[in-house]
């Protein structure tokens, strides 16, 4: 995880279009999705950004992998200010990550197939493994490390999702269903990606 020195910044959030935006042509960006910040933002193939979600690279770069879904009002990355620190942490979402409504990923790494539930918060510098679930309203404090297949639930308790761990075919089918969900969004949500290209 590399942190890079930030260039001197203005109020980047008022600039709707970040300069260093790398979009795969198959990305779906809904109207009112919000991407901003001076650091690079990379968004992988078939990723869906719902209306009023925010991808902020004010402090550090944001990489959203392929097939991710960022729901309404979710926030990925950190904007300027707020934390008061000069150097941010890069945010890296793996493949097929789902950040639900009001979910927050504030820098750090989130592994493939992980779901951040409604209102879930992954604090700064957390490293979340693959196929984890952060249940609704669960908050991971900064710099937490979560191994693969972990479920965080019930006010900070953790357990291993042995069902998925034991049955690789279930993981596969889960990802298959996720693909179908992505197709559905392509059908239902009007794409405004042209605005950002």
């Amino acid at each position: 995880m590399s942190t890079r020195p930030n260039p001197p910044q203005k109020r980047t959030s008022l600039l709707p279009k970040p300069k260093l935006l790398t979009l795969d042509p198959t990305v779906l960006i809904a109207q009112h999705a919000h991407l901003s910040g001076n650091n690079p933002i990379t968004i992988g193939a078939r990723t869906v950004l719902h209306p009023h979600c925010r991808i902020l690279s004010g402090n550090a770069a944001v990489v959203v992998g392929a097939g991710c879904v960022i729901f309404e009002r979710a926030r990925v990355g950190m904007g300027v200010g707020g934390m008061g620190d000069k150097q941010g942490t890069d945010t890296v979402l793996g493949k097929n990550v789902v950040v639900e409504t009001n979910g927050v990923v504030e820098g750090g790494e989130v592994g493939d197939g992980t779901v951040v539930g409604v209102g879930g918060v992954v604090g700064r510098g957390c490293v979340v493994g693959r196929y984890c679930t952060i249940a609704a309203s669960e908050i991971l404090p900064p710099y937490t490390r979560i191994p693969d297949f972990t479920v965080v639930y019930g006010g900070g308790q953790q357990r291993v999702d042995r069902t998925l761990e034991m049955r690789p075919e279930l993981v596969e089918s889960k990802m298959g269903l996720h693909e179908k969900q992505l197709d559905m969004f392509q059908r239902l949500v009007p794409n405004q990606v042209a605005k950002w290209m």
């Binding site: 479920v151 019930g154 042995r162």
Partner: protein, 583 residues
Amino acid sequence: MAQSFPYTYYACDCFDSNTTTSTKRASQVVAAAAATEDEEQTFDPQNPRSNYALYPLEHLLYCEDCQQIRCPRCVLEETLNWYCPSCLFEVPSSVVKSDGNRCTRNCFNCPICISPLVVNLLENADADQGTPDRHILICPYCHWSTLETGVEFEKHTGVYAQLARIANGGKHIPTSKERDKERERRKELEARQRDSKNPLSPSSETAAVETEAREPPSRDDLFSNLAAFYKSQLEAQTPANPFSPGEMNFSSPSAYSRIMNLYSTNTAKKQKRVKPTPMREAASELEGLVIYDPASDSAAIERIKRDGWNSTLSPTQKLAQTNPHLQFADELRPIPTLLCTKRSKRCRSCRHILSKPESKITSTRYKIKLLALNHIPRLSIRALPPTNPPIPSIPGGSTASQPQPFNYNTLRSGIPTHFLLHLSNPLFDPIRVTLATSSTTPGKVQSRVTILCPQFDVGANTDVWDDALSSSPAPMARRSTINAETGQIEAGKIWDKGRNWTSVAIEVVPGFLADLKNVSGEEDGLDEDDDLLEIPIFVRLEFEADVHAEERGLSDSRGSKAERESREQAFWTVVGAGRIAGR
């Protein structure tokens, strides 16, 4: 649950008053005498007992015959019917008796986190080759599934019945008939072995064969063994019972009287005392005896060493299980959903029905519902802002749009703060209200309280339309109690008044939290919630009512004929005005 300020609780005095019990025991009489001495004492909301006396108004009922508030502690509940809260199916009481108070359909709760489980179809890759579908129960919240304990189902319905036949790991659970057969078989085997080998060596050999062949009996096995053993014992005891030869069971009255005979040593039934010979206790595994095996403990310890604490269960998880002696996560069983009941409520002293819901599960209506809030005034408290702007309040979430919402969580010590007490009258008669409180609140943090107008009238409740129609004439002089020159609130005058409500001002000087720390000398003299500003207020009502209150609906129209009597009602309330800010 954090209660949001401000709130009002009503005290039910059912513990102190002995009206609910017709026969007084000596201790109660003494208690009653003590209570009358205490009459002058202020109700203390911080008294541990108050937890059981204070209720929000919506939870209180009112007995029209006793003319008293009835709280959940002074009503009798009668179950009307049972239903599953998850599938909302009614369960007949006979089934509740036989199968327990659990849903026997498809409703289960997660043994890990208690969320309702969902039946899921496992992805079937070989569906074309005719492999049947497999289903599992899975928790949508914590993702526990029956796969973790090795249980899969063939059908997505009748899961309870399926689960009753599948043990963890997918093994078959014998039915009670199969158990009986197996037990008979083993008994015969044992008997034969005893016959053949008894004269020779002690049964070390057979025991070895036994233990290696089978794993320790399950809890269900032991139970059925023990039950069968006791049954056979009872049959042996009372062979000549003419009424129910085969139907002897534990709950039968004769079994009960037999047990009573065992324990009642002297007195009565001397002729019967000869009859019961002492029963033998279970002596072998087949009879339901469990012998403690230290090996199982060391195995458990080894397992914890190997798998860590994560494989063990929390006390809550254990207690939620039907078998509370489980130790490891792979022994968990889905919890069949507990049933709910619909209940009617009766007054404990006069047995009149106070509330009776319609028995249909889907109906939310009541046949009878005597609510306290239709009989006693609703008292509410609200902060009086320092200035007096006519701002319409926007309750709910939009408080942010209000210019300066009063923060009830940070009352400042020593600064006089004004609140409004608002009393609305649900009765169809005007009432005269007297409010009383002690000058300082009870508890460690003493706040000074002054009710500026302790005695006032509240108008009768009439039809809302009367008010709407008659509102055109100028409303009564409002907010006249602020002295124009000094800006002080005048004492002895009401603050505001409407059709069936009156509000009066109350001045509170929140106490100091800091002083207390110094005085007490302990590391922190304050307990949790000692910084709550809860004001006990005694409310006394006087009003004239028709003699037969319950027929008010009829007599109202021809009120002149009805006989009037003066009534009085008094009760304690506690208003939570806020929390005193710490340093």
